[in-house]
């Protein structure tokens, strides 16, 4: 059993969260979701609150390396998990390849769903690399082999992340570029002249 403070009836606990490799100890109301703990308590506001009900994906983070929505994860239940947020995916000043691709290919507009899209995409690429099928996979049997990460596969796997601005086409392009595959939408136009220009 857990520490004795939880053996008596209590509505708050002092917990330690491991976020982006750093430990944070804080008292939390048990009602506090991981999303609110990040945003309201730890000033990690990169994880966004879009619906607070698991219906939009804006709060996607990585829990033990797998994507999850922080709005339905109680903070107190996230102890002992490795939590990675958008603030933790870059390597210092060097953007994660998914971040770089989103930036170069304009994989966003208002930017509010973007951290969730990026964390989700990182999860998608790992899940695909691990051989996980999706609802777009025509034959899920293991002997069929892993499906190629086509645009259709990316779209299905990313569907838990709504983008109301409708930047879906360039998001799919960005995920494909970061994954090192060719999406069918690749265009030659709109090559940015600015810093971090696309090849």
């Amino acid at each position: 059993m857990r520490k004795k403070q939880l053996m008596t009836s209590s509505t708050s606990s002092v917990i330690t969260l491991k976020i982006n490799g750093e430990k944070h100890t804080l008292p939390v109301d048990h009602r506090t979701t991981l999303l609110d703990a990040l945003r309201e308590r730890l000033d990690l506001t990169g994880t966004k609150k879009g619906c607070d009900q698991g219906q939009c994906g804006a709060c996607t983070v990585l829990l033990d390396g797998r994507r999850a929505v922080a709005c339905l994860q109680l903070a107190v239940a996230a102890e002992n998990r490795e939590i990675t947020t958008i603030e933790g995916v870059a390597d210092g000043d060097r953007l994660h390849p998914v971040q770089q691709a989103f930036l170069d290919l304009d994989g966003f507009q208002c930017g509010y769903c973007t951290p969730g899209q990026i964390c989700s995409a990182i999860g998608v690429i790992e899940e695909h690399a691990a051989g996980w099928p999706s609802a777009a996979t025509s034959d899920v049997r293991p002997e069929a082999g892993p499906p190629p990460l086509s645009a259709e596969e990316i779209r299905e796997r990313m569907s838990g992340n709504l983008c109301r601005c409708g930047a879906y086409v360039s998001i799919v392009e960005a995920v494909a570029r970061a994954a090192g595959v060719q999406a069918d939408e690749r265009r030659g136009e709109d090559v940015p002249a600015g810093k971090g220009a696309a090849a």
């Binding site: 059993m1 999850a68 339905l72 109680l74 239940a77 989700s120 999860g123 099928p133 838990g160």
Partner: protein, 330 residues
């Protein structure tokens, strides 16, 4: 959301003991349904017992050649598991058709079986609902019900069960195993969900305070050739308006074995036994498939705005069985 106590269980018996007979305590698994319902005020527990760290996260073969799936296996791990994909592909497909990648990584098998309906009257505490507040009425019957039940409903509730996974489990004769205060027990999935009748708030045969520990799938050679097909109002990340888990074994043009279960048509995953009886031994052709669907759907009692589901399910049965038969013939 009301304040609540939180405790973490480290073994099954301890978890069940912690919960005890307290009606205000809930087990917390992935939280994808419970936490949402707590936010909307549908659930107001005074205490949560976190079971996510219990050693129930394995998928293992059973001595009889089936599979045992732990209750805290996540939907993501379930759908990715090679034995599930090889032996029960429709189960993998059903899980993959549900929710989103993020939610599948959180949601557990036990929680998925116990998830509550997504009926818009149930999830809105300002509206009447017999399932939430027994005796308060069912506004869906006269109101918005285009995605409500056509089978097995009553004048008290027409909500549908939202799970995709459970539909495939129903087709493959899964058995739900639990640990109650007086020890372990089990229930075939076919009996796990209670008829609606005049008690829509009583949903499962799980004894009070019991914890689902695992689900077993008996060996089913027919399941190796199976498919889950889900229809919804956008291409992904939406609940079903009609779905089908189907398995078919055809030899010499005759159906040897068949499994059918429907989703989003009833308060529970709907095992289509009448349809299966028509199929087995009959010629494997579209006429048989349609007759099988009709045999099951004869019991359908659609409401004014959900009659399309009868046609939808019928068409799904014919299309999916035809596909499975064609693939078998290749």
């Amino acid at each position: 959301m009301r304040e609540f106590d939180y405790q973490r269980a480290s073994d099954v018996a301890g978890a069940v003991a912690l919960l005890g007979a307290d009606p205000d305590t809930r087990f917390l698994g992935g939280g994808t349904n419970l936490v949402d319902l707590m936010k909307s005020g549908v659930e107001r527990p005074a205490r949560l017992v976190d079971i996510r760290e219990l050693p129930l996260d394995e998928i293992e073969p059973t001595p009889d050649g089936g599979l045992r799936i732990g209750a805290t296996v996540t939907n993501g791990d379930l759908a990715a598991h090679p034995e599930i994909r090889r032996r029960y592909p429709a189960l993998a497909q059903a899980v993959l058709a549900g929710a989103s990648g993020q939610l599948r990584n959180m949601a557990t098998v036990g929680g998925n079986l116990l998830q509550r309906t997504r009926c818009g009257y149930f999830t809105d505490v300002t509206k009447p609902c017999n399932k939430r507040v027994p005796g308060s009425g069912c506004p869906a019957i006269e109101g918005e019900h285009h995605n409500h039940a056509i089978l097995g409903a009553s004048g008290h509730c027409v909500a549908v069960h939202p799970s995709d996974m459970a539909v495939a489990l129903a087709a493959f004769d899964a058995v739900v195993h639990f640990h109650a205060a007086d020890g372990p027990g089990q229930s075939p999935l076919a009996d796990f969900y209670l008829p609606v009748g005049d008690t829509p708030h009583r949903e499962t045969a799980l004894p009070p305070g019991a914890l689902i520990t695992h689900v077993t799938l008996p060996p089913a050679p027919v399941a190796a050739r199976s498919r889950y097909r889900k229809v919804r109002e956008r291409a992904s990340y939406a609940f079903a308006i009609g779905s089908l888990a189907a398995a078919l074994d055809v030899r010499d043009g005759v159906v040897q074995d068949a499994r059918l279960a429907f989703g989003a048509v009833a308060s529970r995953p709907w095992r289509a036994g009448a349809a299966e009886r028509v199929l087995i031994g009959a010629p494997a052709d579209a006429g048989t498939y349609a007759a099988a669907a009709d045999a099951e759907l004869a019991a359908a009692r659609p409401l004014p705005h959900n009659g399309y589901k009868v046609e939808l399910i019928r068409n799904l049965v014919v299309a999916v069985l035809s596909e499975l038969a064609e693939e078998a013939a290749r």
